[in-house]
Symmetry: C2
Subunit: 449 residues, 2 copies
Amino acid sequence: MEKVYRYIEDNQDMYIEWLRELCRQPSVSAQNRGMKEMVELVKKYLHLIGTDITIIETSGYPIVYGEINQNKNKTLSFYNHYDVQPEDPIELWDMDPYGAIIKDGKLYARGSSDNKGNLIARICAVHAYQQVYGKLPLNVKFIFEGEEEIGSPHLTDFANNHPEKLETDGIIWEGGSRGADGRLHVTLGVKGICYVELVAKGANTDLHSSEAAIIVNPAWRLIWALNTLKDENENILIEGFYDKVVQPNEIDRKFLKEMDFDEQYKLKTTGLDQFLLGVTGDDLKERLLYHPTCTICGMESGYIDEGSKTVLPSKAIAKIDFRLVPDQEPDDIVALLRKHLDKHGFSDIEIVRHSSKNPYKTDPDNPLAKTVIENVDSVYHKPPVIYRNSPGSSPIYDFCSNKDIPVVQIGVAHEDSRFHAPNENIYIKDYIDGIKMTATVIHEFAKEK
Amino acid sequence: MEKVYRYIEDNQDMYIEWLRELCRQPSVSAQNRGMKEMVELVKKYLHLIGTDITIIETSGYPIVYGEINQNKNKTLSFYNHYDVQPEDPIELWDMDPYGAIIKDGKLYARGSSDNKGNLIARICAVHAYQQVYGKLPLNVKFIFEGEEEIGSPHLTDFANNHPEKLETDGIIWEGGSRGADGRLHVTLGVKGICYVELVAKGANTDLHSSEAAIIVNPAWRLIWALNTLKDENENILIEGFYDKVVQPNEIDRKFLKEMDFDEQYKLKTTGLDQFLLGVTGDDLKERLLYHPTCTICGMESGYIDEGSKTVLPSKAIAKIDFRLVPDQEPDDIVALLRKHLDKHGFSDIEIVRHSSKNPYKTDPDNPLAKTVIENVDSVYHKPPVIYRNSPGSSPIYDFCSNKDIPVVQIGVAHEDSRFHAPNENIYIKDYIDGIKMTATVIHEFAKEK
């Protein structure tokens, strides 16, 4: 691979320009800004490496699907997305979110870390490999969607309608980070998510609060209902909620122990004195990666502006996300929640479902995972940190249609890359290393039996 | 009084025009619209009846104070306010809120029922009395403030700085209604209010909800804290909360029994199947008038827009009003609440105080109350309904500086007058009767020993 590494280094200015071109093009799916132009750009670079492109139209934004078929019996797929989060709040950026300026070794842009840096790094890796060796040692598939930042509403349909496009020996998923210690994070799983809205209703209109003496207050109904869901020790009280939870095994715990987590840094940046319930060390990491959660993400009722208004609200809502671990399933959780609310006298409270995703886990002994893990050192000169699971969620399960496809996440971001936030950035060095790492995976995975 | 009644009837077109002139002038204190012009109009009508006017400037809007000193040893005061609520939502009005149009016997205008109809009715009554008898049988004082709709922030200062202007034998307070059965409501008390905001804080910024596994969620802290304040049977659980509550006595219960409350109408207009806890009849009325409350008026945390956002909120707030009954005091309640939160492990939750007002009660045997009650029949040809207390609050206690001044509320509104709402209105007949009733009180109260 030394030749490929050298090619990448010799041509790094070109690869950086490719990334900057993508970053200069806004592609905000939530606001339908620049999406068509972005699709054209993605197509341009896929063409450049000889990809056979299919555009899968949806009622939203298309999935750009590509294949480089080398008639090999091994296929490696790449999932990425070409849309980005809105750049708001714009006033907190220190530079143009679409300027793609480079400063102190970092490239700043909306989408640089999530997910354009990874998307183009995969293309660059194929390009460099082709330039050195002519052909790839395996078949490659690209699945680039444009709706990840709005919940991937058409990804499951795509997977169901195009099973042949999913056939693969493994997927490198959208991305990941490098730790402050320089070690690459290799992530082998994601939590699932079940996002619901609880709605309590009272009178048909807001009333004067003096009427609260005799008229039901939906805000109180909601408070009492929520209080039955979780206690102050963070135990989720929904009957059966933990029944399907698979406890971390010995390997999981081993990876957890090796995982670095800078507690002081996290506390400092969040302005807190301690973590939830005062946990630290392995307990803290276990909670972060392996515990399901029940989180109030939003809550609203009645008057919420400055000062006071004496109003009896007609409605109260709470938005809740449950992060799930294997083998919990969103459908089960909603059913258990309904049963729980009914049992506790809250049949009046409506459950509105939003997005849901199953948890997903890849075995570290599987060929793709092994390839990635064993070859990190050759690029990063340090062993990886294995994340047996990730605290967040991704539509991997739905996408893979439960086909047991190995999915590994690695990427070009770092700990302070500010996904979804102002001043989003990546290190140029991480970007170049990310191209090398992708090329290495292509090369080494082809050899795996 | 027949002569006075006849004078009022003969001149009712003029008195209606006086009211329409006031209603055509917007005077929105919350938005500083038309306030100066309104003060001039109020002064014009006070001048017309020979009032000695003093303008008490405040950092907000002035209190227009007036006296007609007849060198009598009895004084009757009138409290009213010349400001109105904003007319929003303007699109729900069927007419110009400042058009003061008359249709089907009703006058429609923002401020018609709250409080311009009453303010000018007091002036008309004095005018008619003077036209018939030349002089008034007692001294009259007018206290017309311009900040009632924004919480009367300068009324207590006025009371403290001008004790001589408060000296009186009784006050007719701003207003009241006539029931669907045509009987005038005479109100002899108000609940107090203590409005607070509870604030729970977490990290210094909103975080990705995947971090909720290890970072405190202030929304949950708030839920658990609120849950300790009141149970599902509406029992307020703050230790000592009920200690100072004076239970309704026999007279209170007698008035309660006589009080008419149209349960079916209320249920129909609110779209509900039943009242709180299923109460009806005397229990319902007792709860409405004599029970203190703890009401969530507003609640906010995290993401509250459409759809879902996976955010761990950094802050959660709840706005709560406690309606208080004699002899509860707002200061006590806040102290008890603080103690309660601390005791239950919620020292982290901050209490921010907003407005507070003590409850106030006038003895039905007192001369002004007796005068009003005994003379309702002569104008309305039906006995009054006595409200020993009112479900709402008014700054009477602070204004009277606890001087034990008798305060009686009667007015020109009716059950569907739509205070603060679109299509606010009064019946022309109620307005004319309100002028007569005020004149009657002036006449009869002067005779009381």
